[in-house]
């Protein structure tokens, strides 16, 4: 397996997200995806992912800040886009986040996990539906890294980048 050839982030955004800013960031970043990717469906999936990740960080950040990095790299001859969002969070939330990812890894499929979660506890705040949606609807490979009080969620997928002129 060849190592991923990484470049500096395409976008790096550190801000104090509000609901208004999350929507504005989704629209800005979606137009960016439409410019650089060949497939409109991929742009739509990534717009959804960006929104859900930012809103998730906004809800659980203990200092109100979140950092979003988007990078495109090339691995095994394929373009990959990687979204990475980090924020400080309470210990209880970090435990729930780990449990959520363990549940996802145990599940037979993303769609099954997602629809089961909808049926079981969609009304509950903090149900994890946003992250499950990214996995099931946006077809992203998801992982979670926890270091101290920092939670980092990584979502990545293969894309086709438009050739620059």
């Amino acid at each position: 397996m060849s190592a991923a050839v990484s470049v500096p982030p395409l976008v790096a955004l550190t801000f104090r997200p509000t609901y208004e800013l999350v929507s504005a960031a989704r629209e800005f970043i979606s137009s960016l995806y439409e410019t650089i990717l060949t497939d409109p469906s991929a742009s739509s999936r990534l717009g959804l992912t960006t929104h859900e990740l930012l809103e998730n960080a906004m809800k659980y950040s203990t200092d109100g800040k979140a950092t979003l990095e988007i990078e495109i790299c090339r691995k095994n001859g394929q373009d990959l886009i990687c979204l990475r969002i980090s924020n400080q969070a309470e210990a209880g939330h970090l435990v729930r986040l780990q449990e959520l990812f363990e549940g996802m890894h145990r599940s037979e499929s993303a769609f099954t996990y997602y629809t089961d979660l909808m049926k079981r506890n969609a009304k509950r705040v903090g149900s994890g539906l946003g992250l499950a949606r990214i996995w099931a609807e946006a077809d992203m490979i998801m992982s979670c890294e926890i270091a101290g009080e920092m939670a980092t969620i990584v979502a990545q997928t293969a894309v086709e980048v438009r050739k620059s002129r």
Binding site: S23, R45, T115
Partner: protein, 137 residues
């Protein structure tokens, strides 16, 4: 035919007590000009519209049950985005629909747009909640 007779000939549909939502980036309204109830949503359904959308869907469900309509036609062809918090409201609506007595249940026909790629996946998952009562056109 006199005017009063003309009026008498027009079958009157019961009016719907579902106030429309008219916000800067989102609009939802329900009308009943014929037998189904027509619902149209446009714009972006995100956390900024959550409380209004929740109220709208709750009243839409209760009014549909009250009026005895057999079908709700939901036009989302210009609904550009919906976040997971708003999706939860649809989950609640479709769960309530599924749990109704079978004689009270109504159908929901979703008119989506193939240009808005998220819609097929989101409404496919939501359709699963409603056990065949929701179809997507």
């Amino acid at each position: 035919m006199s005017k009063s007779n003309q009026n008498a000939a027009v079958p009157k549909e019961p009016s719907l007590a579902v106030p429309p939502v008219k916000l800067a980036g989102f609009m939802a309204e329900a009308t009943r000009s014929s037998l189904p109830i027509d619902v149209r949503m446009t714009g972006n359904a995100d956390s900024l519209v959550l409380a209004d959308l929740e109220n709208f869907l709750r009243k839409l469900h209760s009014e549909t049950c009250r009026s005895g309509a057999a079908e709700v036609r939901l036009d989302v062809s210009e609904l550009f985005f919906m976040n997971s918090s708003c999706m939860k409201l649809f989950v609640s609506w479709f769960t309530q629909l599924r749990e109704l007595d079978p004689v009270q249940q109504y159908r929901v026909v979703v008119q989506s747009s193939p240009k808005l790629h998220w819609q097929a996946r989101s409404f496919d998952a939501l359709r699963y909640i409603a056990n065949g009562l929701v179809t997507i056109s």
